[in-house]
């Protein structure tokens, strides 16, 4: 998968990690296929200058989800809860798009989440221009491959990656918990890169 930088970006001075604004996104889904499955909830949290701003944490439930019961993954979200707190997906995605524009998107396994997001952004005709995309799963895979021959899939789950950095185990597995968990994982991954001063965003993409 290739996430190309928009061409106008290349002329600018390369953005540094510590000067960057990022949005970490996690989705809860009813399945793995964007053409068949639905988004149950969307959560995001922002990283500014190397700091996760807890204040920016957002957790939104999709009112329009039809197939909650058939979701292969149990999210602990009940239908009454969605009834009460849910909103239209288009509203949610509009809010996310405005948070995301000109910033960097971060996901753990971006292939999945960005696939879903892109599909619905196009569907609702929402224009969104993330600066670039960072995948903490790919980052970790790259790092592990430098030290060992092969990486097994179970070594790359979010809890497995976090455990490697001594990050606390989170009990709740909703989208918001995972978004923060991913954000913290990225901080830890960056914190363990050798050269700190000049870490460029490009080093992470």
């Amino acid at each position: 998968m290739r996430w190309l930088l928009p061409s106008f970006m290349r002329k600018e001075r390369e953005p540094l990690w510590l000067e960057s604004e990022l949005v970490v996104v996690d989705l809860e889904l009813t399945g793995l296929d964007p053409n068949q499955h639905e988004i149950v909830s969307v959560a995001w949290v922002e990283i500014n200058r190397g700091q996760v701003a807890l204040q920016s944490a957002q957790y939104r439930l999709n009112k329009g989800v039809k197939d909650l019961e058939q979701s292969p993954i149990y999210h602990g979200i009940s239908e009454p809860e969605i009834e009460e707190k849910g909103e239209c997906l288009v509203q949610i995605l509009t809010a996310l798009a405005s948070a995301l524009n000109t910033k960097t998107l971060v996901c753990h396994n971006a292939f999945l989440d960005w696939g879903f997001l892109q599909k619905h952004f196009i569907q609702y005709d929402i224009s969104v221009q993330p600066k670039c995309i960072i995948d903490t799963l790919k980052l970790e895979k790259k790092r592990l491959l430098r030290a060992q021959e092969a990486v097994r899939q179970e070594q790359l789950t979010l809890p497995a990656c976090r455990a490697r950095y001594g990050l606390p185990t989170y009990q709740n597995h909703n989208a918001l918990s995972d978004a923060l968990a991913t954000a913290e994982l990225l901080l830890a991954q960056v914190g363990h890169l050798d050269t700190q001063k000049s870490i460029k965003l490009r080093n992470l993409v």
Partner: protein
């Protein structure tokens, strides 16, 4: 629809479990979570992420970090649930300590303005951090050290020029070289590199005692490949090597391993000269009272260099009392040397602050002599002269005369065991104000020097003496006559001097009250100790005071004593033991008010306990 409650449950759960949030309303933890930032700190990125421009309260979520002070000493190790950064938030001063990352981890950051908000909204939140800061101060302040001698570099201590000879030289030549240079050892070098060492002792043991021909090569008697030290090592490392291998000479090498000189155990001992414990030893060995006085002159300067190196401030009190004990003992021995053996058994006792081991540079003398019951009238003159001699020279040593005349030069402070008992008995049964004053001084007593059996005899009989309720009631009433300098609305009540400087007397209106309280409870429970902290510690075994009350009194005492020493050493332009609250930081003022408040409560409880009937 609002989304302000999108707090991450896991973070909220964690924060809610931490003090002080666990004792505060849930809204407090919510506020924290909604305003905190998260960073991941490693040794590589800490400089970038923990810049001091913006001040934060830091809460460790994972990882291990050491908090290190300016002198490089670890103040405390921080792990999950530990805070740092609050001293600077509370005092407004710059951050004093820095972080050393042991294991990288997540840290929550709460900006100053949000910390301030919680302080305003939740008094218990503020109190938690004020207390934590006080504890940190107590434990870390006296760990600070000026440059201890053991941290000095070898290059500053060693004998500058290396005395060397070639391997082809004979033992005689080696001895001549040492004699010429006036040193006790010589280095044997080969091509400029260290190859061996010969010392005085080697000449004795390996040449003379072994009846070896002194014209043999020096290589036959030298220690091959001796232990050595580099010029950039610390004195401590040299001392350690010497002790470990029981050697007295260490060649000093530079980075290229060329011999630069020699460091000996004598060089290191010389560095310890300014050690107060050493001074006590020197006083015990002084050959004349002039020498005792001369040695005593070093005490104030010594204390100045020392005050910050003692972990617990009360050690200074112990040290000063120890020095005074040493002077009293040595002066007595010198007197006996001069005037002949005493006509009967006797011993020195001390009272008041010296007995409590709480002496300061301003404390005056409180001492006395106990003599044998079998003393004959004409023998008393000897002890009058002894009292005169010792107390007089103690004054020359800088320990002022007691304004109340409680000194062995005063006839009323000399006496047989029976005479002392009669005095105590009188104070206990006819509690006049003067008797109460005497009780305060004389019930804090300690043996210094002489015949210990006399002191034990007096003590045993005093403990058996029935102390009546009326005695305790009078004592409690007397304690309550003194008050902490706090007015209404938690304001300091200042005393004024001639030049209209406002000040607080930390001794008589703070420390002394805690001492009084510890004494009355100790007497009631039969605790035979004089030191206030020791008394309070011992009182934990009795039910007369709750543990919390005892801890509070101990804390107050330590805090006030620490402040008191600080001002004494800083030598401010105020009466002894007094402090101008304006010279304190806002935090210290806050703590001082809290200390006074606690003392007042304890005082009231004491009156209630002992003086109910008579008030």
């Amino acid at each position: 629809m609002t989304h302000t409650h999108s707090a991450v449950t896991d973070v909220l759960d964690f924060v809610t479990q931490q003090l002080p949030f666990s004792t505060l309303p849930a809204s407090c933890a919510h506020f924290f979570v909604n305003h905190a930032k998260v960073v991941y700190i490693t040794s590589l990125n800490q400089a970038e992420l923990l810049s001091s421009e913006q001040k934060y309260l830091y809460l460790v979520r994972s990882g291990v970090f050491d908090l290190v002070d300016n002198s490089g000493e670890v103040v405390t190790r921080l792990g999950e649930g530990d805070y740092f950064g609050y001293p600077s938030l509370l005092t407004g001063e710059d951050i004093q300590n820095h972080l050393e990352v042991q294991t990288g981890g997540l840290i929550f950051l709460l900006p100053q303005e949000d910390f301030d908000f919680l302080r305003r909204e939740y008094p218990a939140f503020e109190q938690h951090f004020v207390r934590a800061h006080k504890k940190r101060l107590l434990s870390s302040h006296y760990k600070e050290r000026g440059r201890g001698w053991s941290e000095r570099k070898i290059s500053t201590l060693m004998c500058r020029t290396a005395v060397t000879i070639e391997p082809k030289a004979s033992v005689v030549e080696a001895a001549k070289t040492m004699h010429k240079a006036g040193v006790s050892s010589v280095i044997i070098t080969e091509n400029g590199q260290l190859s061996g060492i010969v010392t005085d002792r080697d000449l004795r043991n390996r040449v003379l005692a072994a009846e070896l021909d002194p014209h043999v090569s020096v290589t036959k008697v030298m220690t091959r490949d001796p232990k050595f030290i580099f010029e950039n090592n610390r004195a401590f490392a040299a001392l350690h090597l010497m002790l470990k291998h029981n050697i007295h000479h260490l060649p000093v090498l530079n980075e290229e391993r060329m011999p630069l000189g020699m460091v000996t155990s004598t060089d290191l001992l010389r560095q310890q000269k300014h050690d107060p414990v050493q001074l006590i030893g020197q006083i015990y060995k002084a050959n004349s009272h002039q020498e005792v006085v001369h040695l005593a002159k070093e005490i104030p300067a010594l204390l100045r260099g020392f005050s910050n190196t003692v972990e617990d401030i009360s050690f200074i009190g112990t040290l000063l009392s120890g020095l005074t004990d040493a002077m009293t003992s040595r002066l007595t021995e010198l007197f006996i040397k001069q005037q002949g053996e005493p006509p009967c058994r006797f011993c020195w006792i001390c009272f008041g602050s010296q007995a409590r081991e709480e002496q300061t540079l301003h404390s005056d003398q409180d001492n006395g002599l106990i003599v044998s019951n079998s003393i004959l009238p004409h023998q008393r003159a000897y002890f009058a002269k002894l009292g005169e001699f010792v107390t007089g020279h103690l004054i020359s040593c800088g320990i002022k005369a007691c304004p109340g005349g409680i000194m062995a030069s005063n006839e009323l402070c000399r006496g047989t065991v029976d005479e002392w008992l009669m005095r105590f008995d009188q104070w206990c049964h006819t509690p006049t104000p003067q008797a109460m004053l005497n009780s305060k001084i004389f019930f804090d007593r300690r043996f210094i020097f002489g015949d210990q059996f006399l002191y034990q005899a007096l003590n045993a009989q005093l403990n058996n003496m029935q102390k009546q309720d009326i005695f305790f009631a009078a004592m409690a009433t007397d304690i309550s006559a003194n008050s902490v300098p706090m007015g209404l609305f938690q304001q300091f009540k200042l005393q004024r001097d001639k030049r209209k400087h406002g000040y607080l007397d930390l001794k008589t209106r703070g420390v002394a009250i805690v001492n009084d309280l510890a004494r009355i409870y100790a007497l009631k429970c039969g605790v035979a100790k004089a030191n206030t902290q020791a008394r309070l510690e011992a009182l934990k075994a009795f039910s007369i005071l709750s543990k919390e009350d005892i801890y509070n009194l101990q804390d107050c005492w330590r805090f006030l004593t620490q402040l008191r020493f600080k001002i004494q050493i800083e030598d401010l332009d105020l009466p002894p033991n007094c402090i101008n609250p304006e010279h304190l930081s806002s935090l210290e003022r806050h703590q001082l008010k809290e200390a006074f408040h606690l003392i007042k409560q304890a005082q009231q409880a004491c009156v209630f306990k002992f003086a109910r009937g008579s008030l």
